[in-house]
C-alpha cells in the first residue's frame, strides 16, 4: 500500500463516511450491521485501491461495496436478522413518494436521516453527541471517549445503550415533518455547537484548543449547510464556527500565553474564514426573527470587522446580546452581555451588571464570572477586591493556559 492510497482512504473516511453509512443503513436497517459493513468496505479500499487505483468517485465505490457486503450478510443470516428490531424507514414501510415526505422539497440526502436519528430528543444529550461522532464522523469508540475525557468502557456503554433505544423504541430513520423541523434542527445544531465549544476551549488539559474537535464540528456544519441550504440557523452556526475559529491562531502568544481579544494581532486572523463567515451572517440575518446561532455569529462578525479593539462597535454588540438574552435567557449569555455593557458603558456599569448575576446558581461554579469581575475591578483600581476575584477564578478554572493567564494578571496586580 502506497502512502497515496492510504491518504486517499483517509480522505474518503473523513469526507464520505456519513454518506456511505447513511446509504448502507437503508439496506441493513440496523446501525451495528451497517457500521460493520462500512468498516469492511474501507478495509477493502486499502487493498483494492492499491492494485486498481483510486476510483473516480470513492464515495460511490465504498457505498456499493458496503451495500453488497450487507446484502450478503443479510442473506446468510436471514433467520437471525429477522428477530432483530429494525430501523424504520418510510420508503421501505410504505413506499411513499420521496417528495411527499419532505413536504415537496428536493430529494433528501440519507445523511440527514442519520443526523436526525442521532440527535433525536428521546436520546440523552451526551449520547447524541457520542452517536454523532461515531456515526456521522466515523470516530471509533476510543476516539469518542478521548474527546469527552471519559473511559472507553463508559463511552461504549453509552453508545450501545443509545443504539438499543433507537431500535427498541423505534426512533424512526427519516426526516421530521415540517412542523417539527425547527425544533429538531435546533437539537442537531446544539450537538455541533457543543462539539465546537468543547474543541475551541478544552475544558481541561495543557492545550487551549482541541483542533480535532473543531475540525469535526466545522465538517458537520458544512455538511448541514449542503443538506439544508435554506436554513438560516444552519448558516448562522457555520458562520459562528468560521468567525470564532478565524481568531484561533492569535489566541495564544508565541511564548504560550493566552491572549485576550484586546491583545490579539488582528492582521493574523484568518481572512478567508472571515470572508466566508460574514456573508453567511448577512444572509441569515435577513431571515426574521434571528435565532441564537445567528445572533452569536453576528456578534462574532462585529469583532471580525473591527480594525482594532478600540474601534469595536460595543453598542452594536450590546444590542445583539439584548436580542440574544430575550430568546435564550441563559445566565451564561447574560454574563457575556454584562461584559459587553462594561466595554460599551464603562467598568462601573459592567460591574453592576455582573453583580446582578452573582446569585445565579448556574454561574456559581463558573470561572468566567469571577474572571470578568476581576477584570472590571482591576480597571477601576479596586486592587484588593480584584485580587480576591482572580483567586476565585483560579479555583474554578482547569484549563492550564487559562490558569496561567489569570495567575499572571493576579501577579501584575501586586506592583
Amino acid at each position: 500500500m502506497t502512502p497515496a492510497v492510504a491518504a486517499a482512504v483517509a480522505d474518503a473516511h473523513r469526507r464520505e463516511w456519513a454518506f456511505v453509512l447513511a446509504a448502507t443503513v437503508r439496506v441493513t436497517r440496523d446501525l451495528d450491521l451497517a457500521e460493520e459493513c462500512v468498516q469492511d468496505a474501507y478495509a477493502k479500499a486499502l487493498t483494492t485501491w492499491g492494485t486498481r487505483g483510486v476510483p473516480a468517485s470513492p464515495g460511490a465505490w465504498l457505498t456499493t461495496v458496503a451495500k453488497n457486503r450487507a446484502l450478503d450478510l443479510l442473506r446468510r443470516d436471514a433467520t437471525m436478522r429477522r428477530s432483530l428490531p429494525l430501523l424504520l424507514d418510510d420508503r421501505i414501510e410504505t413506499a411513499s413518494d420521496e417528495t411527499d415526505e419532505t413536504g415537496g422539497h428536493e430529494v433528501a440526502d440519507d445523511r440527514l436521516r442519520l443526523i436526525f436519528t442521532c440527535c433525536h430528543p428521546a436520546i440523552a444529550p451526551q449520547a447524541r453527541v457520542a452517536l454523532t461522532l461515531r456515526l456521522l464522523c466515523g470516530l471509533t469508540t476510543a476516539e469518542v471517549a478521548r474527546a469527552f475525557l471519559v473511559s472507553e468502557p463508559t463511552m461504549a456503554a453509552r453508545i450501545t445503550r443509545a443504539k438499543k433505544k433507537i431500535a427498541a423504541a423505534r426512533i424512526p430513520y427519516r426526516l421530521p415533518p415540517a412542523e417539527a423541523l425547527p425544533a429538531r434542527i435546533d437539537a442537531v445544531l446544539t450537538v455541533v455547537h457543543l462539539l465546537f465549544t468543547t474543541g475551541h476551549t478544552a475544558p481541561a488539559g495543557d492545550s487551549l484548543v482541541r483542533r480535532d474537535l473543531v475540525e469535526l464540528s466545522l465538517d458537520l456544519a458544512r455538511m448541514l449547510r449542503t443538506l439544508l441550504p435554506d436554513d438560516a440557523d444552519v448558516a448562522g452556526l457555520l458562520a459562528l464556527i468560521l468567525l470564532t475559529d478565524a481568531r484561533s491562531a492569535t489566541r495564544v502568544a508565541r511564548d504560550g500565553r493566552l491572549l485576550p481579544l484586546a491583545e490579539q494581532d488582528r492582521s493574523s486572523w484568518d481572512r478567508t474564514a472571515i470572508g466566508e463567515g460574514v456573508p453567511l451572517v448577512q444572509e441569515a440575518l435577513r431571515r426574521r426573527p434571528p435565532g441564537r446561532f445567528v445572533l452569536m455569529a453576528a456578534i462574532a462578525a462585529v469583532h471580525s470587522e473591527a480594525p482594532t479593539w478600540d474601534a469595536t462597535d460595543w453598542s452594536e454588540v450590546v444590542a445583539l446580546y439584548d436580542l440574544l438574552v430575550r430568546i435564550w435567557p441563559s445566565p451564561v449569555v447574560a454574563l457575556n452581555r454584562a461584559v459587553a455593557v462594561g466595554f460599551a458603558a464603562g467598568p462601573v456599569r459592567g460591574l453592576a451588571e455582573l453583580d446582578a448575576l452573582a446569585a445565579e446558581p448556574q454561574l456559581a461554579g463558573y470561572g468566567y464570572l469571577a474572571a470578568s469581575r476581576a477584570d472590571f475591578l482591576r480597571r477601576l483600581g479596586r486592587t484588593a477586591e480584584a485580587r480576591t476575584a482572580y483567586e476565585e477564578a483560579l479555583l474554578l478554572t482547569e484549563n492550564a493556559l487559562e490558569r496561567d493567564f489569570l495567575a499572571e494578571r493576579l501577579a501584575r496586580l501586586g506592583d
Partner: protein, 115 residues
Amino acid sequence: MAKYLVLIYEDEASWTGAGPEDFDRTYKEHTAFGENNAAALLGGDALHPTSTATSIRKDSSGDFLVTDGPFVETKEVICDYYLIEAADLDEAIAVGKQVPAPYGGVEVRPVQIFE
C-alpha cells in the same frame, strides 16, 4: 406498527387535595383524548391509589416477601396507563403529549413483542 405503554405519573397528594370539579375536568379530558385517539388506543385504565398497592419480591433465600405499598417510593407514581399502537416513537410521543396528566407527566415505553 408497535405497541407502547403510556404510564401516567402524577403526584398523588395533589389528587387527594383535588375537588370534584378537578375530577370532572380531567374525566372530560380523558374522554376527549380517547375520542381523538380511538385508532391508536388498545386499552387503558385508572388505578387505585398506591396505598392499595402490594409489592412482591423474592428475598435472598428465595422466599416471597410481600410488602404493602408501591415497588418504588417516589413523589410521582403511576396513577393510570394507556396501551397504544403507533408506527414509531415520534407517533407515540405525539399521542403521549395529548394524555391528560394535570399533576405530572407520562412515560412512553415500547412494549416488547416475542414472536
